[in-house]
C-alpha cells in the first residue's frame, strides 16, 4: 500500500515539472490596433551610425534624406523641394519650408550643412560617395554643394541612407553621435537591447501624418521563429522570410499576405584577372559566364526566390540603358572559348599543359544566401569540367585575402541599383583607380566612359555612354553576374497599404494601416 502511495507521489512530482497548468490567457502579447510590430533579421540599433547600421534610420523614416526615390525609382523631393545644377561641379538645393526636427528646432540650410558635414567627418565613405568639396549656405533655405569633379549623380547619391539629415541634438558637444533625431514621420522612442526598438508617430511631421501611432521593430534572429511569430499573431509583419515559408504562406486561405518584389541587389562572382591566375585570359572568363546556369541556381539553391542575372543591372529600371548584351547558358561557346585559350578536355576535365583548370571560390557565410549560391556555382562549374573548391569566411576575413589578390574567384553581394544611378557601383568597382573588386581589372576606355558618365545629365548622351561602358564590362567579363535579389516579406491580413520598396532599404510605414 505504502509502495503504491509512494509511486503515485513520485509520479505526481515528475508530472508537476511538466507544464500542465494553463498560463494566463494573455501570455502572448498581441499588438494594439495602432501599433505595427515588425520582426526583423538584424537588430535595429539606435546608437550606431556606422554605415550598415544607420540604414535603419532611413528604413524606419526617423530621418529624411534631401532627395528620395519613389516606387518607380524616380527622384522625388525629400527635404529638398528642388535642385538645380548650376555648373558641372555645383548644385543648388532649395529646402522645404516649415520642417521641424523631432527636438523642435527648425530645419534650415545651416542645419543641413551641419548634418552633412558631421556625417562626412564621422564616416569618410560618405564624403567620397558625394564627391564633396564644399557646402555653403546662400540663403536660409538654399544650400550650395560643390563637388570635386563634374558630378551629375549627386541628387541620386543624396538618396543613400547614410546622407539622412540629423538634428544638432543627435550629437554631443564633442560631435559624437548620440541618438537619431531627425525630421521623419516617426521619432525614436525606446530601445531594449536584443529585443526591440520602438519608434512613435511624430505629430509635427511635414508630410501627411501616418495612421500608425507606433512601430515596434522586434529582433527575431531565427528565420523560422520570425515566421512563427507572425503566425501566432505576436508580430504583424515579418521580413526576410525563408523561401520554403514564402511558398507555404502564399497558399490561398493561409490568412497571410506574402510580398515578393525585385529590389536592388546582385549576387555575383568576381574573377581575378591577374597574370598567372586561371582567369587572366578573357576567354576563360567568358567561358565561365557561358557555363553557369543561373536559372538552376535560383530554382534549386534559392527555392525560386531570386531572378537569374545575366547582366550587372537588373532589367526594369528605366535609367539602365536598354538593349545591352547579356550572357546566356551556352556550353558550345564555353567549349570554343576554352579551346581557343589553349585548354583541352581530357576525360571530362579541362586541362592545359598537363594541369587541370582549378578554381578556388571564396565567399562569406554571414549573409544567409552566400553559402547556397557559392556551392551551387562550384557544383555547376565542376559538372562543366573545372576542378573547383569553395572556402567560406567572414566578410572581413574574405576581404583580407581578396585585397591581397590571393584568390581565383569570390562571390559577393552588392546593391548596384540602390540610388537609381549607374555611377554608384560602376565607378568604384570597375574603374582602374578605385577597383573595389580587387581583381586587377583595367580598361582605359572604360575609365574614360565612367568619368564622363558621372558628369552627364540624364539624356541620350548619358544613355549612350553607359551603354558603351556596360558593353565593355560585358565583353571583358571581369565578373559573373549570378542572381538579382527578390525581397520577401509577409504580413497578417489586417495590415493594409504595405509595399516593398525597390531600393531595398525603405519600409514606408507612413502609408500602412491596420484594420
Amino acid at each position: 500500500m505504502t509502495k503504491k502511495i509512494l509511486h503515485a507521489a513520485l509520479m505526481a512530482a515528475a508530472l508537476a515539472a511538466l507544464p500542465v497548468g494553463s498560463p494566463p490567457a494573455h501570455a502572448i502579447e498581441k499588438p494594439e490596433k495602432d501599433t505595427l510590430v515588425v520582426a526583423t533579421m538584424w537588430e535595429c540599433l539606435p546608437f550606431s551610425m556606422e554605415a550598415r547600421r544607420s540604414r535603419f534610420f532611413n528604413e524606419s523614416e526617423i530621418l529624411d534624406t534631401l532627395v528620395k526615390l519613389d516606387y518607380g525609382m524616380n527622384l522625388v523631393p525629400g527635404l529638398a523641394t528642388a535642385w538645380k545644377r548650376q555648373s558641372p561641379t555645383e548644385w543648388t538645393f532649395t529646402l522645404r519650408q516649415g520642417v521641424t526636427f523631432h527636438d523642435g528646432q527648425p530645419l534650415d540650410a545651416e542645419a543641413v550643412k551641419f548634418s552633412l558635414e558631421r556625417v562626412t567627418a564621422l564616416l569618410p565613405y560618405a564624403g567620397s560617395l558625394l564627391d564633396l568639396a564644399e557646402i555653403s549656405v546662400t540663403a536660409p533655405d538654399t544650400l550650395n554643394i560643390r563637388t570635386k569633379q563634374p558630378f551629375a549623380a549627386l541628387p541620386n547619391q543624396l538618396t543613400d541612407a547614410i546622407t539622412g539629415i540629423y538634428a544638432r541634438s543627435a550629437f554631443d558637444a564633442e560631435g559624437k553621435f548620440v541618438k537619431p533625431v531627425g525630421t521623419g514621420p516617426f521619432r525614436y522612442a525606446s530601445y531594449t537591447k536584443q529585443d526591440r526598438t520602438v519608434v512613435e508617430r511624430f505629430d509635427g511631421y511635414w508630410g501627411k501624418a501616418p495612421s500608425l501611432k507606433r512601430v515596434v521593430y522586434r529582433y527575431v534572429p531565427d528565420h523560422s521563429a520570425r515566421v512563427l511569430s507572425l503566425e501566432t499573431g505576436e508580430v504583424d509583419l515579418a521580413v526576410d522570410i525563408p523561401p520554403a515559408d514564402v511558398k507555404r504562406l502564399s497558399a490561398a486561405g493561409s490568412g497571410f499576405q506574402v510580398y515578393r518584389e525585385p529590389s536592388a541587389g546582385l549576387y555575383y562572382m568576381v574573377l581575378n584577372t591577374a597574370a598567372g591566375r586561371p582567369f587572366a585570359d578573357v576567354r576563360a572568363r567568358r567561358a565561365v559566364n557561358a557555363m553557369i546556369d543561373r536559372k538552376a541556381i535560383v530554382e534549386h539553391a534559392l527555392d525560386g526566390v531570386g531572378k537569374p542575372a545575366w547582366q550587372f543591372f537588373a532589367p526594369g529600371f528605366d535609367w539602365v540603358p536598354s538593349e545591352l548584351p547579356a550572357y546566356a547558358l551556352d556550353p558550345a561557346a564555353a567549349t570554343s572559348d576554352l579551346t581557343a585559350a589553349g585548354f583541352r578536355k581530357e576525360g571530362g576535365a579541362w586541362m592545359k599543359d598537363g594541369k587541370p583548370l582549378a578554381v578556388e571560390i571564396l565567399s562569406y557565410s554571414s549573409r544567409t544566401e552566400m553559402p547556397l549560391i557559392t556551392e551551387a556555382v562550384s557544383g555547376l562549374l565542376k559538372a562543366a569540367g573545372l576542378q573547383t573548391s569553395t572556402k567560406m569566411f567572414t566578410w572581413p576575413g574574405m576581404l583580407s585575402l581578396v585585397q591581397k589578390g590571393q584568390y581565383d574567384a569570390y562571390v559577393v553581394f552588392w546593391t548596384p541599383e540602390m540610388t537609381a544611378h549607374p555611377d554608384l557601383h560602376l565607378l568604384p568597382h570597375f574603374h582602374s583607380a578605385s577597383g573595389l573588386d580587387y581583381n586587377g581589372y583595367r580598361n582605359a576606355q572604360l575609365d574614360d566612359l565612367l568619368i564622363r558618365g558621372r558628369g552627364l545629365d540624364a539624356g541620350p548622351e548619358r544613355q549612350a555612354t553607359y551603354a558603351k561602358a556596360l558593353t565593355l564590362v560585358h565583353e571583358d567579363a571581369p565578373i559573373v553576374p549570378l542572381v538579382h535579389k527578390i525581397y520577401a516579406a509577409a504580413t497578417n491580413t489586417a495590415v493594409k497599404g504595405f509595399r516593398i520598396h525597390p531600393s531595398g532599404f525603405f519600409y514606408d510605414f507612413k502609408s500602412v494601416r491596420k484594420d
Partner: protein
C-alpha cells in the same frame, strides 16, 4: 582550500592571456579591422593605417598591449562593441544575467524530473521508472534541439497559444527555452543519478539502515541520495558550464540574449572587443563553477576536505 583559490586565480590570469592572444592570432590585421570599423566600413589607405597603428600603440611589444588591455578591463572600460556601439560591459552584463536566469530555470526543470525518476529507477531496476529514465536519456541525446524547439513553439505558441514564440523580459519568455533545455538534460541526469544511487544502495550502511527497520523512502532520501550527491553535484557544475556556451541554437530560436549566442555572433562579425571579453568571461565562469563545485563537495563530504 587556499591553494585551491590560488590555482583558480593563476588559471584566470592564464585565461586572460589566452583570450588576448586568440584574437591577435586570428587571420586579418586587428588594427586594420578596427580602423575599418571606425571609418564606417571604408578601407583605409596605407599611410592612414600606419599612422593609426603608431598612434594607438599597435606597434608596441605584444606584452605592453596585453597589459594595457588587462588594465582597461580592470578599470571597467574595455571599449565599445563594433556592432552596437554600446559598451562591452553593457553587452556582456545583459547576456550573463540572462544566461544565469535560463541556467537556473533549465536546471530546476531538469532536476525536478531527474531526481524522482533517477532515484526510483535505481530502487526499482527494470521497472517502468527505469525504462522511462532510459527513454528520456535517449530522446534527450537523439533529438536535435533546433527541431525540438520548433516543435515546442508549434505546440505551446501556435496551437495552444499559451506562450510567446521568442523574446525576453517577461516570465513567460523563459518557459519554453527552459523546458527544451531542461527536458533534454533530464534523461542524462536521471541515468546518472540512477547509477550513483545504485552504487550506494549496495553498501553496508544502506543494509544497516534497512535492518534498523527504516522505511524505504527514508533509506532512499535520507541515506542513499546524500551519499550519492558528490558526483551529482559535479555533473551539475558541468551542466551549468554548458549553459554558457552550449545552447546557442536554443538561444537563437527563442531570441534569448544568452552569452553563447553573443560569443558566436562576435566571432562572425569580428567584434573583437566583445569576443575577447566573452572568452574571458566564459572561461571565468567555468573556473568559478569548478571552484564552487569543489567547495560544495567539501561541504557535503567531510572526507574530501583533507584531499584538496
Amino acid at each position: 582550500m587556499l591553494r585551491r583559490l590560488g590555482q583558480s586565480l593563476a588559471l584566470l590570469i592564464l585565461l586572460s592571456m589566452f583570450s588576448f592572444a586568440l584574437v591577435h592570432a586570428m587571420p586579418g590585421d586587428f588594427a586594420e579591422l578596427l580602423l575599418i570599423e571606425r571609418m564606417g566600413g571604408d578601407l583605409p589607405a596605407r599611410d592612414v593605417l600606419a599612422r593609426f597603428k603608431a598612434e594607438e600603440g599597435f606597434n608596441d611589444p605584444i606584452v605592453h598591449q596585453y597589459l594595457r588591455w588587462l588594465g582597461s578591463i580592470l578599470r571597467g572600460e574595455p571599449g565599445v562593441s563594433f556592432q552596437s556601439g554600446d559598451s562591452v560591459w553593457a553587452e556582456i552584463g545583459l547576456r550573463v544575467e540572462n544566461t544565469l536566469l535560463l541556467a537556473a530555470a533549465s536546471i530546476a526543470v531538469s532536476l525536478a524530473l531527474a531526481v524522482p525518476i533517477g532515484v526510483f529507477a535505481a530502487a526499482r531496476r527494470g521497472s517502468v521508472w527505469d525504462r522511462l529514465s532510459m527513454l528520456l536519456a535517449v530522446l534527450g541525446m537523439a533529438i536535435p534541439n533546433f527541431w525540438y524547439s520548433l516543435i515546442m513553439v508549434m505546440v505551446f505558441s501556435l496551437f495552444l497559444g499559451w506562450l510567446p514564440v521568442s523574446g525576453y523580459g517577461h516570465w513567460t519568455h523563459i518557459v519554453l527555452p527552459a523546458l527544451v533545455i531542461g527536458t533534454s538534460m533530464a534523461g542524462i541526469t536521471a541515468r546518472f543519478i540512477r547509477s550513483c544511487v545504485l552504487d550506494v544502495l549496495s553498501r553496508d550502511f544502506v543494509r544497516t539502515a534497512h535492518s534498523k527497520g527504516l522505511g524505504e523512502i527514508r533509506v532512499l532520501l535520507g541515506h542513499a541520495l546524500p551519499n550519492a550527491l558528490v558526483p551529482i553535484v559535479t555533473l551539475l557544475g558541468l551542466q551549468i558550464g554548458k549553459m554558457f556556451d552550449g545552447v546557442v541554437v536554443v538561444e537563437t530560436i527563442f531570441a534569448w540574449p544568452g552569452i553563447g549566442r553573443l560569443l558566436v555572433e562576435s566571432i562572425f562579425s569580428r567584434d573583437f572587443p566583445v569576443l575577447q571579453l566573452c572568452v574571458l568571461v566564459i572561461g571565468a565562469v567555468y573556473i568559478a563553477v569548478n571552484l564552487t563545485v569543489d567547495l560544495l563537495v567539501m561541504a557535503i563530504d567531510p572526507r574530501i576536505r583533507g584531499a584538496l
